[in-house]
């Protein structure tokens, strides 16, 4: 092991602490800015209707065993029959999501805003760190690591003799970037900005096709094995009562 480095206390006061505090504050700022920029568009009635329909069908599927077989079959028919079931989408009427996205510029705009609110602060902070703090050894990780981590932890220092557990300021920035997510979820509530953007990416932009999800819901409703639970619950109640009476 290499000899211990002696770090100036000024580095702690002027690099390590400010860098961490700034990272936290920028995270909070980004959260509120993205909250401000979020345009609340009026949802399309048809899409809302389809979403609610899927939820209803899913509820039926989840609670299928709590109703008698006859009722279940009646309800399934209501959703699934080939002529006018609710989950059947007439052919040719299905909307192309790509076309829908182009026809509604608000959607693309929203996504772009979200992405920008992520990227701009990160680039700015990175530039700031690079400009002021490049080349510092700012911290030391309290556990030993192998040489492979050198490029990750000592980004910006080109010395091969320094022990790997010393962290350069630029790498400390990256550690903060990833490690503070937990703190943000504590102080900003569960749906903090980062998770939000990820969820939005999955949901809105890329291929949310209502007719397809209706079809999928129909298929899974078709294959439900119905098994009424009430008779079994009588046995269960009997067992519980017997145990109590004993």
């Amino acid at each position: 092991m290499a000899a211990d480095l002696v770090l100036d206390t000024a580095i702690r006061d002027w690099v390590l602490i400010p860098l961490s505090v700034v990272m936290v504050l920028i995270g909070v700022l980004r959260y509120f800015v993205s909250k401000l920029m979020r345009s609340n568009q009026v949802p399309d009635a048809k899409i809302v209707k389809e979403g609610q329909l899927i939820i209803r069908a899913r509820n039926l599927r989840a609670a299928a065993n709590f109703i008698p077989p006859k009722s279940f079959r009646a309800r399934r028919l209501y959703y699934n029959n080939e002529e006018n079931g609710l989950l059947i989408v007439p052919k040719g009427q299905a909307q192309n999501p790509q076309a829908q996205m182009y026809s509604d510029p608000n959607m693309a705009m929203d996504m772009m805003k979200k992405n920008l609110s992520m990227i701009i602060p990160q680039t700015l902070t990175f530039a700031w760190v690079n400009f002021f703090f490049s080349g510092f050894v700012a911290a030391k990780i309290p556990f030993p690591l192998t040489q492979r981590f050198r490029s990750m932890l000592q980004n910006g220092i080109d010395l091969s003799t320094v022990d790997v557990s010393y962290v350069s300021s630029r790498s400390w920035y990256f550690l903060n970037l990833f490690g503070l997510r937990g703190l943000f979820s504590l102080i900003l509530g569960e749906e903090n900005a980062m998770d939000d953007t990820q969820k939005m990416m999955q949901m809105s932009g890329f291929g949310f096709d209502p007719s397809k999800s209706l079809g999928a819901e129909k298929d899974s409703l078709d294959i439900v094995q119905h098994d009424w639970a009430l008779p079994k619950f009588e046995h269960r109640a009997e067992a519980v009562l017997r145990k109590l009476a004993r």
């Binding site: 702690r12 309290p142 937990g182």
Partner: protein, 114 residues
Amino acid sequence: MGVSEKKSSEAAFDVPTLNAENLQSNMKVIYYSRTFMSIIGGVIAGILGFTGLTGFIFYFLIMTVTSVGLIAKTGFTVYSYFDSWSQIILDGFLGGLLSFVLFWTFAYDLVHIF
């Protein structure tokens, strides 16, 4: 004997009786407390000056304490809140590790390095 009997009856009447939304909210509580505990544990580990393996053992200990606390909070009837035991013991275990390491390093550096 009572426990085994309960287990067998659970298997026999295998009907999910948990509300999905409530289950999700319970999971959220687990993640929240795990993150909280990992951050606090990281600061404590850093101030006490743990290095190397000791710190990770400390993390493991913290997570065990959290699990026991959560189980005690359910009144030792895990099945009325969660699907299985593994959910209450394992979920959020790795997610907290990064926060733990960050705050461990931070507190350790502030107190011991300079």
